[in-house]
């Protein structure tokens, strides 16, 4: 057996090389990826955040790791600020955006989305008092669907680079309210000791949260779609949603 292997070694290496060249030449974009780099923001708990050990954690960490396991991929986590998260995907700094990004038509024009792994959820306003004027200055994170909604609602939009700064803006009076995903706001409101409260109507925005991929990465997209479907089918995705967002959160 051993001798046989040795005899074949040179031949095998040649074959491997040919195979690799053929793969690259024929399938083009759909190459065999060694490591899939997952890009996230790391500042949007409980979706994704940097935990106290300095690692990416949260709902999307659990989902991402599980999806990679099911799709048979080796994945690596990368953080990138929200503002430039799409351009950096396009220039190839990472392969997947997994950052609480809602599926919208505008984004779908520049990148591709997998099927959603988080159902369409409500966005809500949070303010310091119940009679806050939601047509006044409202804070939202830059380039989010919430920012787009505020701009069209007739209120004055105040944009910030990170979600944390939008909350700080309400606390220090810079904005009368903040508009964001309700699932992001809920723990903050609950732990504010009555300082912050939900006001106004909840709004349904976007088509749920999906993975963002380059439009040319169709094979990778199909792998993730299948993995997400299998997590939906066996209920493990719902279990993760409940673990991170509580029993009241919307599920599949």
């Amino acid at each position: 057996m051993n001798r046989h292997l040795t005899d074949q070694k040179g031949d095998l290496r040649m074959k491997k090389l040919l195979l690799a060249t053929a793969l690259v030449a024929v399938t083009g974009a759909a190459y065999a990826q060694d490591v899939v780099r997952l890009g996230t923001e790391g500042a949007y708990p409980p979706f994704n955040f940097i935990n106290d050990a300095g690692e990416v954690a949260g709902f999307e960490r659990d989902v991402g790791d599980e999806l990679c396991k099911r799709a048979g991929l080796t994945c690596e986590w990368v953080t990138n600020e929200w503002d430039s998260i799409i351009p950096n995907l396009q220039s190839g700094n990472y392969d997947v955006i997994i950052a609480g990004m809602s599926i919208t038509d505008e984004r779908d024009e520049v990148i591709d989305f997998s099927q959603n792994y988080f159902p369409p959820a409500a966005s809500a306003y949070v303010a310091l008092s119940a009679d806050a004027d939601l047509k006044g200055v409202v804070a939202a994170q830059v380039s989010t669907i919430q920012a787009g909604y505020v701009a069209e609602s007739g209120a004055t939009l105040l944009e910030f680079a990170t979600p944390d700064e939008t909350i700080a803006a309400v606390r220090n009076g810079e904005a009368v309210a903040v508009f964001a995903d309700k699932d992001f706001l809920a723990p903050i409101v609950a732990e504010s000791g009555g300082e912050l409260m939900f006001v106004g109507e909840e709004v349904q925005l976007g088509g749920g949260v999906g993975l963002g991929l380059r439009e040319s990465d169709t094979e990778l997209k199909e792998k993730f779609n299948a993995a997400i479907q299998s997590m939906k089918d066996d209920g493990s995705l719902n279990a993760l949603i409940e673990k991170h967002f509580g029993p009241e959160a919307a599920k599949f």
Binding site: I50, N80, E165
Partner: protein, 293 residues
Amino acid sequence: MFAACADPKAIEGLTWALCYLTSGKHIDFYWSFVTVLLLLALTAPAALAMGFAGAIAARSRFLPVSLLGKGYAAIVRGVPDIVFFLFFVIALDQAIEWTKHQIVCPDWTQPIRQGLEFRVCPQAKVPLGSASAFWHQAYGFGLAVFTFAIVFGAFAANVLYGAMNAVPRAQLETAEAYGLSQAQVFRRILVPQMWVYALPGLSNLWMILIKATPLLFLLGVKDIVYWARELGGSKTQAYEYPHPDWRLWYFVGLLVFYLIFTKVSEIVLARLSARLNHGQATAGGEALRKAAA
């Protein structure tokens, strides 16, 4: 880090503070100070070398070289820093990958530019997709040093060009009268004497460089300002150490760091200035002579 820190929500007071300040994230924060210092230690000599080359080129009697030197200083100094740090780095990164692509994947048939996407073959990625996170960071850091060196080199080129022209003509003429060649005059008379004229400008650049290090974050390197903002932001129970908005305290810490750092720099630069002025026929040199007498 310590055994007592296993369950952060059960501890309080001093132990909590100790555990909090030694969390993995804080260790990353402390290392980022080293990153910033390393960046300065590498960028300053690199920028000085770029500046020196630029100044020599600008002084050249051969017109194309002279235009190249002057053009470099004029163009880079004229472009806003933020534009430089946002676009130049992406262009540089893509240029490196494009070049590598041409070499390692000559048979690649797909277009590299597909709409907004930039897509080279996987073997041409820099660093490779399979490289460890360390290499990705080191590459980002290398791009940062290079970009800083180009930007600050342009300013240094202008300062050094002016300093070279400020050396009294009489000094050079005397050297020529002794029969020194042009290269010898440059090396033995011009360069040693120009530093005293260049130092005020260069020390300004050093101070600006210290303060420009937060631009590192634009280049994907996590610097002290990024970590201060990340650590200081209010934390919910999803984190091990929940706390309200403490950004103010972290930024006060950074303020102290930068003030101490610039103060130490000032002391060192003042000593250097005194040393360079020693024995020079300048007002500074005259003041030193009188003080000693």
